[in-house]
């Protein structure tokens, strides 16, 4: 059994008087893709925002590699190796692929005073990474993001997460605005991310997408976890759907 990478324990979160999360415990192991499912308002986004540092939980603990951590903001989360891919990919559209990949961590060459970007190194690595995430087209790394399609942008975001040795990549509804081909591309990238040693949490509405990639499914309903350890290979979409919508029977 692979070791535990991330563990969120007894998480509670209130927004005013509405309880968004009620005593939720979630764990993710190394080299594992977890699918987090649930209907609107189930609390998936909230839970993940807590893990990525965008919001703070009202109570509960987070453990990484067995050690307790305090994630106060997004910088803390990144420092812990947790990267989040949002629907809009958090890319700067005017900048090139290479500049986006290395944003905030640009390699420099020459005397420190000159602060000179090592653009050759950046472009080399970018080219390699793009191949790694399965982009077979010849896209020069100096292309601005604005020239890329939605799926390609997601691919760049994932490549960035993979390159900087994040342990956990969170994908929050990444396929929402994508077409069929592009969705296939993203799912492919997610699989290759896991294969190269990263764990993922994959949040989606769309069960069909989730079934194609995840190792394990967790279901939230109205702020509570109602199912865990569901193996997609051993169940049906209909069964999972019924869990999401409200029957409390745990499938075999």
């Amino acid at each position: 059994m692979a070791e535990e990478l991330v563990r969120m324990e007894h998480i509670n979160k209130f927004f005013g008087r509405v309880q968004a999360l009620n005593d939720v415990t979630l764990s993710v192991r190394r080299n594992e893709i977890v699918g987090l499912l649930g209907d609107n308002g189930a609390g998936k986004s909230t839970l993940i925002k807590i893990l990525s540092g965008a919001i703070r939980a009202d109570s509960g603990d987070i453990y990484i590699d067995g050690g307790k951590v305090d994630i106060r903001n997004t910088t803390d989360a990144i420092a812990q190796g947790i990267e989040t891919i949002y629907q809009d990919s958090a890319l700067v559209t005017q900048l090139s692929i290479a500049r986006n990949l290395f944003l905030g961590r640009e390699p420099v060459k020459g005397p420190r005073l000159l602060d000179r970007l090592d653009q050759n190194a950046m472009n080399e690595v970018a080219r390699r990474l793009l191949k790694q995430v399965g982009i077979t087209k010849e896209i020069p790394p100096t292309t601005p993001i604005s020239a890329l399609s939605g799926g390609e942008r997601q691919a760049v975001a994932i490549a960035r997460a993979m390159h900087f040795e994040s342990n956990l990549i969170i994908l929050d509804e990444p396929t929402n605005n994508l077409g069929v081909d592009e969705t296939k591309g993203v799912l492919r990238f997610v699989r290759s991310a896991r294969d190269s040693g990263h764990s993922c949490i994959f949040i989606a509405h769309n069960i069909y997408h989730v079934f194609q990639v995840v190792d394990r499914i967790v279901v939230l309903r109205r702020g509570k976890k109602v199912a865990d350890d569901i193996d997609p290979k051993q169940t049906t979409i209909e069964a999972v759907e019924s869990i999401i919508t409200g029957m409390t029977i745990t499938p075999p």
Partner: protein, 350 residues
Amino acid sequence: MRTLVRLNYAARFGLLSESVSRQSAAAAKGKAILKTMGLFLLFLGTIAAFFAPVVSSAADKAIYYWVSHGSPTDPVWTYFLQGAEQWGKDTGNDVRTSFHSGDVPSQQEAVRAAISAKARGIVTSTPDPGSLTKVIADAHAAGIPVIIMNTEDKTSGRDAYVGGDNVAIGHRWAQYLVDHNFVKKGDFVWMPVEVPGATYQTLETQGIDTVFKPLGVTYEITEAKLDQAEIITRMSDYLTANHSKIKAIIGLGDLVTGSIKRVFDQVKVKAGEIPVVGWGNSTDTAQEVLDGYVNAAMWQDPQATSYLALSIAAMTASGIPPGFDVSVGTLYEKDKAATYLKIMEGSAHK
């Protein structure tokens, strides 16, 4: 391989839309860009043609530059401009005008442009004392005369000055009051002004002193500020408090003199009860003179100033040195006020 990477954005679009073949897409986009640029250059060419001289050459007409330190939105400067344009029409010369709203570098640049364009003469007004000295020297080095109008700078090296002499104007106001027996020894005169300490006020006061001091007439200068509403308030307050002792009023600026009617009405002083003289370059003041609130107002002859300055420039350029300055200023009373009112209202309706 290298050339592929160096394709421009248009070609990149062709590259990334997966359908069309690389080369034809790039060529099509390239053609489109060249076509666009061609249209653009055609457009520029049309503009250039518009700018091209229509007559044989500009060298036939003499070129004069009229460079004002004032603002194009200042109604008083509009009259000055009229005078310059009239002169151009009357003499057939090309008068090129510009306003610089107090921006000294911009004005110096304009005068230097005039020098580069080999102007026959330059007429300009001083923004700050000393700011024109160098450019005037440059103009003289190129053989171009420079006449200063409206705001004088004695040490700038200018060939002549045409404009008001504030000292003389102050003297004329004071003398008017004395000549008409409005003030005598021991009387008190109120002198409101927008900005006490400003050059125009200090010079006017110097002139007034030459008449009042020997006569033993006393006065007080009060601040009214530059906002119309505030001017009326401050002047009304002062008038209310000092009504009994004020024997005459000299408005040291255009705004204060133009406010006399409103102030008198507010304090219930009748027109003519207290004699008033001052500046008269606004329609308000001209109307006040007609209605009897102001006895005599000073018109700074803006059109004449420009006209004469340009004439003197032309004269100097022809080799006749001007050995004099021209002091302007017409003190108009009720009988002439209508003329000036018409001049001012006429330009408002142009």
